[in-house]
Symmetry: C2
Subunit: 391 residues, 2 copies
């Protein structure tokens, strides 16, 4: 169920190609404790810079978001445009501008068509409640092929709370960020610092563990709003219901990450790379990312070729220590490499690769740490999508 008190609106502002909604509003009837995570790219979009200031208050009530233009690398004018979007929305909503967040996604470096946007803001506000969460998830898509939404119910004492997350992302997806755009809403009251820590921890093992193409965006943003409208006592880490809340949050962030990898530009397969037996979690993560970001590994998976030599090469250049003669590699349940050399089971391994959900396990046999990274295969369609993106 949609968390209580959250209302939605979407409109076509002609930022994207005609016929597609591209401007959306998420509004909470009550002010909400709000936490956010943003791209660690040194080049940040104007809305990211603006939201990073606003998030210090830990409070929020609305998010205005457009697709089709990232409002990144747009200089002073870009910042003025971002401010203007929140200002106009706040005035119409009769709330403080500091409570309105703004997010943008799309082409970098093109000035915002701000007149077309501001002209549509009054209508966007007036139609509040007439759109569904699905409409919002669709309006924020760029090269995504489907909207990405997950919801969970959580028991909090004698009340039932709800948490819902939506996100977008299919390209320019890479680690150390909070993925492209992700909005999580809950009607459970959660202490602001608890919310911050929960989001940070949850993002670490979800959005920060996916990669489509190794390209980190300028616009990545994850925001969570907890409006407390079910009337529970504010949750903290010590609350009984916190574990259930955190579990649902983790399931939503990981589930949304999975949807992003599944919808990777041109992807035909969802691929999970697990490195285990590492000396540290950082090592496991580094090696898993090297494999997940390897164009050669990704094209081999696309070609149903269990070319594990490319996996070994990627682990070898990942920067971690590796003892070739200890490494085992599995495609699904098929052990393709035993102690660094082939088991000769290439044909069986290739069969595994014909599936749509591929699980590859690399056991380094050097320690007890592990990390999983989600990615997808790399296809001609990825090239086509990105060669023609602006045309």
């Amino acid at each position: 169920m949609i968390p209580k008190g959250f209302l939605f609106s979407t409109v076509e502002a002609a930022i994207k190609k005609p016929g597609r909604k591209d401007l959306a509003l998420i509004y909470s009837e009550a002010e909400a404790n709000t936490a956010g995570m943003f791209t660690s790219n040194k080049v940040k979009a104007a809305p990211v810079k603006l939201d990073m200031k606003k998030i210090r208050s830990g409070r929020g009530q609305a998010i205005i978001v457009n697709s089709g233009n990232a409002n990144a690398c747009t200089g002073k004018k870009g910042m003025e445009d971002a401010v203007e979007m929140t200002r106009l929305a706040a005035r119409r909503l009769k709330i403080k501008p500091s409570l309105v967040y703004v997010c943008s996604t799309g082409v970098i470096g093109t000035p915002m068509p701000i007149d077309r946007i501001t002209a549509k803001i009054p209508g966007l506000m007036d139609d509040l409640g007439k759109s569904s969460i699905e409409d919002v998830a669709a309006a924020i898509m760029t090269t995504d092929t489907f909207p990405k939404i997950l919801m969970k119910k959580i028991r909090v004492g004698n009340k039932i709370g709800n948490i819902a997350g939506i996100c977008k992302g299919a390209g320019m997806i890479c680690p150390h960020m909070a993925t492209m755009l992700c909005f999580i809403m809950t009607d459970i009251s959660v202490n602001q610092q608890t919310l911050n820590r929960a989001l940070k921890d949850s993002v670490k093992k979800s959005f920060n563990r996916i990669t489509i193409d190794g390209d980190m965006s300028t616009n990545d943003t994850a925001l969570i709003m907890a409006n407390g409208m079910i009337g529970n006592d504010e949750l903290s880490e010590r609350s009984e219901a916190y574990a259930a809340f955190k579990k649902s949050l983790d399931e939503i962030t990981y589930g949304l990450s999975r949807l992003i990898a599944l919808d990777g530009e041109g992807a035909t397969k969802l691929v999970e790379i697990e490195v285990k037996g590492a000396k540290s979690e950082a090592d496991a993560e580094k090696a898993a990312f090297a494999v997940a970001n390897s164009s050669l590994v990704k094209t081999a998976i696309y070609g149903n070729d269990s070319n594990w030599g490319r996996i070994m090469a990627a682990v070898g250049y990942s920067g971690i220590n590796v003892k070739e003669e200890r490494v085992d590699i599995y495609f699904g349940r098929v052990k393709a490499v035993d102690k660094g050399i082939t088991t000769g089971r290439d044909i069986e391994a290739a069969k595994v690769l014909k599936g749509k959900n591929i699980n590859i396990v690399i056991d380094l046999h050097l320690g007890k740490y592990a990390a999983k990274v989600l990615t997808c295969d790399m296809t001609e369609e990825y090239i086509r999508v990105n060669a023609d993106y602006r045309t």
Copy 2:
């Protein structure tokens, strides 16, 4: 001209698909001062491990090389096979095995078809001198579409010396290595330590500054043999002719690097990424590599799209400090970005991208250091080549 005293031989040993030579020998009539550089991948092929031991002597006389099988991740048997190749060649050549280097390139993880190779070694030795340097350059190709050879003449006192280099490489090409395989021959006598230093310096700005796909090979090897057959006094850094020698060596390594980028798997364009105005050379190199390795930048170049936002994003996540509001970006002579924002010259910039040789300059305006990295565009053909590589 071919450096004096170097003889060549090639044969078909059925390692690759039928009809293609895949085993070659480079032989110097005189023992030569020899220097080498090898992959920094932690997973190294057997021949690399073996050559790294041999190179300590600084001496060499022959290189036996096969394509079609990388002899990497092949365990103890792989090392035995590599040793056997040098041993058999040495016996037939009547020289010490320590003077014979071995290089392999091709599929990783498949045992060497050693019987087919050893059966062909006698014939390979007997035919010495019957093949040209072009034949050798062709025999070491894998996904390369043309053989890569460069030669220079150098005046050394009253003598004329020669230097020739051949290399192969089209995929699994990435920094911090000495590219796939490169063999340089000269008939000039050069002091061994001088040769070492010259090769190291030369490789740093050539083979270590190219990237096709960001994947570092397990087999990268660059070897240089100086047999001194023109009879000059041994060159050292203090010799008058050293500067001319080093210049030719640099031209050959850079030129061969350029040929590798030009022949990048599926590439239609040669792309030079220059970052200048950086605070250090390391920063410039890091940023240039981030741009050159970005799938999004490479696909945009393929699509003739001057999508400089992707360049800014890559510079932003490269790890260096960057002040967005100072950055200028040029496509050829067209300034597309001025102080971080668009100049609106997208159509002119797109015209530049329609060429076959693309030069992109990113001026950070933060310091006085620069670095150039060579790469290529990324096309559907790259995907096809690598999805079908082993089939």
